[in-house]
């Protein structure tokens, strides 16, 4: 077996794998701080993202206080409110979700799941984290500069973003754009690493079709992000020049508060195209890793192979490709050429088909499974409910003519929070509960986990499901208060107050989660190497938590796909990927059912 050398995309027999030159840490600083070990970098990414996510959580509380009880909190004036929504949105989408899925889970899991010792460019990987941290610090700095952070909305549409009617026009917007540019630079360093690692550093026997779906999701999302983020970069740099040098890339001739400005001729729509050319793939950059991770959670905890693995892989790739030709569905009412509506509505609704296939396959994995309702599985179930709900309301907004009345209302806010806020966050929690034992050697506390799940899931659903109906009623988004209207009944204020109270409770439940993370570090039950009896390679490391270089002396050799659960004839109900047994009985069985 040792002599086969023609590996697809870098499979070489273990004997021939040139041992990676790992930079070995010397002392505390290079082990935990300036570490080049992907596992440490992944945890650094995750902790930074969770920390900045706490800021976003507090901002959402402030917003909900204002919306639920208008005129009660005098320190929340319209300017402050717009700053809150802007920072909340940007932090959640870019600095939390993107960074946590790709930088956090990606760094930790890719080398382990593929049987690699580390990422292929450890130094660049370390640099990626530090640039990300710098981006976060620049972003946080904008809270402390004169005028505060920008209040342009997370979409940063010009001309409004850089005119004086918008809060944070002097410093906030500049720091925001700089921070985004830094983030993109840092991400590109990490992203190149993840892609090349998947292509080149897989261990012997790990063909592409044997990769766990987690890796497929993160890999595809990373490729997409590498191609989509440049659009945001271009837009941000041009907007920065408009703001600082007075260029007119996006700025038309305009009269601000009675004053003729020097700008002229620019196209605000151009910015929107650039922004959404990034912004729509971004939705799937967050969703695809979530799809991948949740597939593995469901399969492991239902003790059943993921149903339709091939379809799942194809769907990930197809969704990734299609997501680049749907961006203008964010611009149906932007005044772009109306004939575009036909094209983009069609592509947008077509993307629902591969997405639906994924949902069916998750359900069919549960069906005839052996479902263990562990905390990660609960979060996976919560993900399916919220994702299906949010995905289906996406069919309203993607269908161009239905979007006309609903765009820019609370319906949109409810939709995207359900589908790319709550649903991916469910997966993040599920993933943390699932892999925490590998990272620390201890289990997270089960009771606290269950309380955390039920409050978060039911609470988030109670927040965002009724919110759709406010939008249907016609309540616009980005209003700090609806004020006097003839069409909003007084009962809407009660609903808003209800939503706010639930939001506070759900937010508080996250404190329990943070406490659990800390408490279990010391007091959690010892997990052993493979507490969930899972098949994938990260659970087969010689040490838990895995040591530097992951695999001890010899790299694992992969003998099978990642989903051999409940194989007929096998002694256990799971067969790890690196195990040569069982005998061909299951192959025959597999053919019979396929």
């Amino acid at each position: 077996m040792g002599e086969l050398a023609h590996g697809a995309g870098g499979q070489i027999p273990a004997a021939e794998v040139p041992e990676m030159e790992l930079p070995h840490p010397h002392g505390w600083w290079s082990t935990y701080v300036f570490s080049q070990d992907a596992k440490v970098i992944g945890i650094q990414y995750a902790l930074t993202a969770l920390a900045i996510g706490m800021v976003a959580l507090v901002l959402s509380w402030l917003m909900r206080l204002q919306l639920g009880f208008p005129d009660t909190f005098t320190f929340i004036d319209p300017q402050a409110y717009y700053q809150f929504i802007t920072m909340h949105g940007m932090i959640m989408v870019v600095y939390l979700l993107t960074a946590l899925f790709l930088g956090g889970f990606g760094n930790y899991l890719i080398p382990l799941m593929l049987g690699a010792r580390d990422m292929v460019f450890p130094f660049v990987n370390m640099l990626s984290f530090w640039v990300y941290l710098l981006a976060v610090l620049v972003l946080v700095a904008s809270f402390f500069v004169p005028g505060g952070p920008t209040g342009a909305g997370w979409t940063l549409y010009p001309p409004q973003a850089i005119l004086s009617g918008t809060p944070g026009r002097d410093w906030g917007i500049v720091l925001m754009l700089l921070s985004l540019c830094l983030f993109i630079a840092g991400f590109t360093m990490g992203g190149l690493n993840y892609v090349v690692t998947v292509l080149q550093a897989r261990t012997r026997g790990m063909t592409l079709m044997r990769m766990p779906l987690t890796v497929w999701g993160i890999f595809t999302a990373t490729v997409m992000a590498l191609l989509a983020f440049p659009a945001l970069f271009v837009g941000a740099v041009m907007l920065l020049l408009d703001r600082l040098l007075g260029t007119s890339f996006f700025m038309p001739t305009l009269v601000e508060m009675g004053q003729q400005l020097r700008y002229g001729g620019g196209s605000p729509i151009l910015f929107q195209h650039l922004f959404w050319f990034f912004g729509h793939p971004e939705v799937y950059i967050v969703a695809l890793p979530a799809f991948g991770i949740v597939s593995d959670l469901i399969s492991t905890h239902a003790r059943r192979n993921i149903f339709g693995y091939r379809m799942m892989v194809w769907a990930i790739v197809i969704i990734g490709a299609l997501s680049f030709v749907v961006w203008a569905h964010h611009m149906y009412v932007s005044g772009m050429h109306p004939w575009f509506g036909f094209f983009f509505a069609t592509t947008t609704l077509i993307i629902a088909i591969p997405t639906a296939i994924k949902v069916y396959n998750w359900l069919l994995t549960l069906w005839r499974g052996n479902i263990h309702l562990n905390v990660p599985m609960l979060f996976a179930l919560g993900f399916i409910v919220t994702f299906v709900n949010g995905g289906l309301t996406g069919l309203f907004l993607g269908n161009v003519v239905v979007d006309v009345p609903l765009s820019d209302t609370m319906f949109v806010v409810a939709h995207f929070h359900m589908v790319m806020g709550v649903a991916p966050v469910m997966v993040i929690f599920g993933g943390i509960y699932h892999w925490y034992p590998k990272m620390t050697g201890r289990m997270l506390d089960d009771t606290m986990g269950k309380i955390h799940f039920w409050v978060t899931f039911l609470g988030a659903y109670a927040i965002f499901f009724p919110m759709h109906y406010l939008g249907l009623l016609g309540v616009p988004r980005r209003y700090h208060t609806i004020g006097e209207t003839s069409f909003v009944p007084a009962s809407a204020a009660d609903l808003n107050a209800f939503i706010s109270v639930v939001a506070l409770v759900v937010g508080a439940a996250q404190m329990l989660f943070l406490f659990n993370l800390l408490w279990s570090l010391r007091h959690g039950r010892e997990s052993g190497p493979n507490p969930w009896r899972a098949t994938t390679l990260e659970w087969q490391t010689p040490e838990t938590p895995p040591g530097h270089g992951n695999w001890g002396k010899e790299l694992p050799v992969v003998h099978r796909w990642a989903y051999d659960y409940a194989v007929p004839g096998a002694p256990e109900d799971f067969v790890p990927q690196n195990e040569a047994l069982p005998p061909p009985a299951h192959v025959a069985k597999g053919e019979a059912t396929a």
């Binding site: 590996g7 892609v195 001729g265 099978r560």
Partner: protein
């Protein structure tokens, strides 16, 4: 955005071609063993660093293509008036060609193991690149002196922006080039060869990118039918 979409279309085609050779239709649950019987096609033994650079160049190309997309959309607006093209740009282009050729020779010299020739070629390539950057700065000064400032017209601003983005990429390349230069003495020849080859590939990329950017900046008004075709739907 049509240009960007076309570019992505090409990338998608490459990706599809590659994926089609990865056995994506196999049924992985039917195969056991360390892949002896797995369908293995298209062996692609490229050093990780080369693949990484290739990926990076793809990302950089995406960035430039998006800039060109923005350029083509913006030039359709009524106020567009491109600045005159400084004659110096022709000289700069020639200098960049020389830098690229020098690095190509350096790469060939590493294959022969001739460290001395590598050293002089790297020096020439680096020197020419610095000269190119200096020339670009002079072109900026020439334009600015003549009153073509970024705030005057978006066409002027695009000139500065696009040349700056290209120049910064070259500057980043120079950092890598100087690292290769440091390896000249002590490092084993295989390592030196890899570094120099990577630099050479990157310089060729930057040369091609510059030729395209230069053509756009200098001649785009003459292909207005093409521009109109590309931007019609996005106005």
């Amino acid at each position: 955005m049509t240009i960007a979409l076309l570019f992505l279309g090409v990338l998608a085609a490459v990706a599809a071609w590659w994926l089609a050779r990865q056995g994506l239709t196999t049924k992985p649950w039917l195969e056991t063993g360390p892949m002896d019987d797995a369908p293995v096609r298209g062996s692609m033994r490229v050093p990780a660093a080369k693949l990484g650079l290739g990926m990076f160049m793809t990302v950089a190309a995406t960035l430039l293509v998006l800039l060109l997309s923005a350029y083509s959309i913006r030039m359709e607006m009524a106020d567009w008036s491109p600045p005159p093209r400084p004659g110096l740009l022709w000289a700069n282009t020639a200098v960049l060609v020389l830098a690229s050729v020098a690095l190509h020779r350096a790469a060939r010299a590493t294959r022969r193991g001739d460290r001395e020739a590598v050293g002089s070629a790297l020096l020439l390539g680096g020197g020419m690149s610095l000269l190119f950057l200096l020339g670009q700065l002079l072109a900026w000064r020439e334009l600015a002196r003549a009153g073509y400032l970024p705030a005057n017209n978006a066409a002027d601003a695009f000139f500065y922006l696009i040349t700056a983005v290209h120049g910064l990429h070259l500057l980043g390349g120079l950092v890598a080039l100087s690292r290769a230069g440091l390896r000249l003495r002590g490092a084993p020849i295989a390592k030196l060869r890899l570094s120099v080859e990577l630099c050479a590939a990157y310089w060729h990329f930057l040369l091609v990118a510059w030729l395209l950017l230069f053509a756009t900046l200098a001649f785009s008004p003459s292909f207005d039918w093409l521009v109109a075709l590309c931007t019609a739907p996005f106005r």
